[in-house]
Symmetry: C2
């Protein structure tokens, strides 16, 4: 955690405004609810360094691959979670002077991520060039109790002036991804409307044609007296409504903005507008305080299940809660079509796509802290992608139902394009199988095998069966040309971890098949048919290969080796590395690591 963040057991706190740190803080203070999320961008205008980020889970764009040097087998595109319509915008002017922290004197700036209650808070005093001062307290959250809804309470106090404040509450769909390979915009406008004092903007993704309808309803009051909306301004991909509020020194202006995102993943396209209207109505009924109470209660329930106490080390307590908070706001397990982007809803890095990190690192967390359906939905996600995994393997020359799960994916198709990872970091396939084992071990839900698991395990075992080759030299099966889990040593032979995982997968697939056969012969017969499973031959192959797998070993040192030839390397302790050379991945060229 960046060291400008103050240690606090339940909060992430930034005090004082440093524009240099703003993009980092926008990431750190991100909020989300599994269905949508956003960076901690300011509501009011900001002309300084910022990366606007609003993300809707599962809504992606296949961005045509761009690499330095094309290699055969690379996928056509990288699926990216999209920067979606920005609904937090509240453009505020005071007697025509724009409130913009880049252009004003800022004091008492504080940004707090309340992890316990699940909301973002920001306070500051700004002095405009005219000398007018305002004090702002802004709170917002994405509701995990009603995951289509989000809300802002933006309170502004006129400190030393009388004048007129104008507020333009906007939904801005004219956004782009910073990581766009060809500097394209990924959205077209589908529709917009202003009705019932509510803004509606429906955007549609290019190529993938996902529709997302974003709606927002805003109220403005001065000293509790409501100000009426003056109607909408509409431009291409943009809609806003305006308020004009006369204030005098000491007056308090309260802005409430309720927004929702509803998508064509969950509604017919022609039902989106009505769904958005309904979501906004729910928010209007509950109001900010009601929504906020639900939010606090929902997070309290999550913390009961998932909190980890670290006593005597505030920074460590803060860090572990930050991790738990991020996992819980990135993925809730409510929808088996969703997964966990490595950076959650905090930015564009890694494209928001699914990696094997889900199975290796995240499933154990959700198993231990959430109802078992959450982990199960993550497993079903991969079951749903089995046919694509078989196609991925076919593209690399495998056949007969062998499945290679992708390194990076949104819809099951491989998106990654580094040959040493895409083609060679195949231990990921083992992580998918091990997650099934792990889930059953933890939950006892062995019925999952018949239900979904066995089909996946057969596909994976078939991959390993074809991926090994017999070495007459070693009188064993070997696995050549892989990248192990350290990711830095590429195209190596007989990575110990990969080999043992491969052997384990083949044994576990056989055990699982035998288990399903013994417990549910009818379903087993169905799976045999579905997968054209040749039981006798495939069992024999898997067992024979697993039993004769090669594991690099040093007789002299009596140790297993990470890979063939490992002991030829110069052996050096971390303590012998000059500090100036660390972190190695930023100081050494790739081949030396």
């Amino acid at each position: 955690m960046k060291n400008y963040i103050q240690p606090n057991e339940w909060k992430i706190v930034e005090e004082g405004f440093d524009p240099q740190l703003n993009k980092i803080s926008e990431s750190l203070f991100s909020i989300g609810n599994g269905r949508m999320g956003q960076r901690a961008n300011f509501e009011e205008s900001y002309t300084g360094e910022t990366l606007s980020g609003n993300y809707v889970a599962g809504v992606y764009y296949p961005d045509k691959t761009r690499v330095g040097w094309w290699k055969n087998g690379y996928p056509d595109y990288f699926a990216k979670v999209l920067n979606a319509a920005n609904w937090v915008r509240l453009d505020i002017s005071i007697d025509g002077e724009v409130l913009d922290l880049h252009e004003t004197k800022v004091s008492d700036f504080k940004r707090v991520l309340h992890m316990k209650e699940g909301y973002l808070e920001r306070q500051f005093v700004a002095e405009l060039k005219s000398g007018k001062q305002v004090q702002v307290i802004a709170k917002r959250f994405c509701s995990i109790a009603d995951d289509e809804i989000a809300a802002i309470h933006y309170q502004l106090k006129a400190m030393n002036f009388s004048g007129t404040i104008t507020i333009n509450s906007a939904i801005d769909g004219d956004v782009k991804n910073q990581d766009s390979n060809y500097d394209e915009k990924f959205w077209d406008e589908a529709a917009k409307q202003y009705s019932n004092d509510t803004l509606f903007l429906t955007m549609t993704t290019k190529k993938t044609a996902f529709d997302v309808c974003t709606a927002a309803f805003t109220t403005v009051s001065v000293n509790q007296q409501n100000i009426a909306s003056e109607g909408s301004t509409q431009q291409d991909k943009f809609i806003a409504n305006a308020f004009t509020a006369p204030v005098k020194a000491g007056d308090v202006l309260d802005i409430y903005k309720y927004a929702c995102n509803v998508t064509s993943q969950n509604y017919e396209k022609d039902a989106l507008h009505a769904a958005a209207q309904k979501a906004i109505s729910r928010a209007q009924d509950k109001k900010f305080d009601g929504l906020f109470q639900d939010q606090v209660a929902a997070w309290a329930a999550k913390w009961v299940e998932s909190d980890i106490l670290i006593e005597g080390d505030v920074a460590a307590q803060q860090a572990i809660r930050f991790n738990i908070f991020q996992l819980n706001q990135t993925y809730t397990g409510a929808d088996a079509r969703l997964n966990i982007g490595p950076k959650g809803f905090t930015g564009e890095k890694y494209g928001g796509s699914t990696y094997w990190d889900t199975e290796a690192y995240c499933i154990p967390f959700y198993l231990a802290t959430a109802p078992q359906e959450v982990a199960k939905n993550l497993l079903i996600y991969r079951h749903n992608h089995l046919q694509k995994a078989i196609e991925n393997a076919e593209k690399l020359g495998f056949n007969g139902g062998a499945a290679l799960y992708p390194m990076v994916t949104m819809n099951g198709e491989e998106c990654h394009n580094e040959w040493e990872i895409t083609f060679e970091e195949i231990h990921r396939n083992g992580a998918i199988a091990f997650a099934i084992f792990n889930y059953i071990r933890y939950t006892g839900d062995a019925a999952y095998l018949a239900e979904y698991g066995l089909e996946v395990l057969i596909g994976i075992a078939r991959f390993w069966k074809q991926r090994v080759n017999w070495s007459a030299e070693k009188n064993n099966y070997v696995i050549l040309g892989v990248t192990g889990p350290n990711e830095y040593e590429n195209n190596i032979n007989n990575n110990w971890y990969t080999n043992i995982l491969a052997a384990w997968c083949m044994r576990y697939a056989r055990e699982s098949a035998e288990y399903v056969k013994s417990k549910d012969a009818a379903r087993y017969a169905e799976i045999v048919k579905l997968t054209s499973f040749k039981e006798e031959q495939e069992f024999a192959d898997w067992t024979s290969i697993a039993d004769q797998m090669f594991y690099p070993y040093s007789e002299k040192e009596q140790i297993f080796l990470q890979q063939d030839g490992y002991l030829d390397k110069e052996q050096m302790l971390v303590s012998e590395l000059p500090a100036a050379d660390r972190p190695l991945n930023q100081k050494w060229s790739w081949d030396r690591i």
Copy 2:
């Protein structure tokens, strides 16, 4: 060679116009003279598929690196030879109707590359939509007798009409590289002028600030009666002059266009205009026929030296002459600052930069077919880059004067950006050393060692000394993590070729040092000082390492192995590979090759 090319011992011949093949033919029929070159683009307008290409040797742009996944140690830019001002343009209209083979009925189309005489010829009959027919015969060449000059003779016969033909003879500097990483244009305009009926356009490269002045002088006649130029049209980065010629059926229009490229590599910037005027004057004096006679004579001299006869196989005879022709028109040895782009002047592929292919494959050709200064200039090119090679090695963690020559370069700095090649295909360094040995072996010019060679050899030997490591396991020196010359197997250990070349380099460096010491003690002392050479220690290290180098070997098969673990691979004969799988590099994913 594409199979639409007709077998012919001295010519490359295409008959009939197939727009689908045009870009291939533009490459195949390229012409050049070592100083400049160009694709076989049409002179007249063409709205079909085409890649405009005019290149000036040594004039490059450092295009900011663009890769899919950045890795530490990658260079900032890739130096690219630029698509330069297009001076072949002759925009022709007949009674307002543009002559454009994409829009007309084409017959009797023939494109011939006359390799013996060194010129490009094209003939066709075009019928415009109006029914008007013209017959065209166009010849052009880049003079190897006067390498600043090129010339076109474009003859057009009005076959069945009377009317007015307008000719706009242009120099178009508003060109771009198709391979631009960020879709930028690489040139700014520096100056343009129309004087003495001559077009002058000086363009300057962004960042590198090379100036290139292109000039062109055009004459037009009908039935030998000259038509006067109507003066110039000027636009941004563009200049042209116009002619209007009334013709009747049977009339013959002759256009002669003389052009030159002069650059700030060879002249002061403020002297470029005068140099261009001089070059154009030389062309005007000799006229097309005089220049052409010089061209034929110069090529005849080249062929006397470099021809290879293959009897009884016309296609093989054509192919070997095509290779010889390309080498001779890409590099003439006149300038030690120039080198050999892998694709010559035929297109943008490989950026026109210098690869180790120069030393490994091209130097033997020039040694055998050209005065020894040609190969010597190629060696001096690398001597001039020694300091940059030392810096390249430093960037990868080497020190003490160790030199790693780049995989790809224009000015000595590494430009390549694939870790498995840039950092690991280090046998290239051996090729640079071996070329010195080869040159001396062929020419007997051992004095080259004292003059230039030894400094380079010391830098290279120092690199190998630091690149090996001692394997206690093998009780030998090993070289880990390399890419051998097959380029497809990456990050392998103890590539036999690389290891033996490394040992050879260290031995040869010592031998060469001892030779220089014995023959020219004063120069030796100078080199020792220049390179801070610690003779005793470095000699001892090199010999000790070379003597204890590890070479993978199979006792059982009694063969050397390409690399560690080679025999673990599935051994398969080419004849066992399905034809559908070939060529492997287009059918198999990178990891399988």
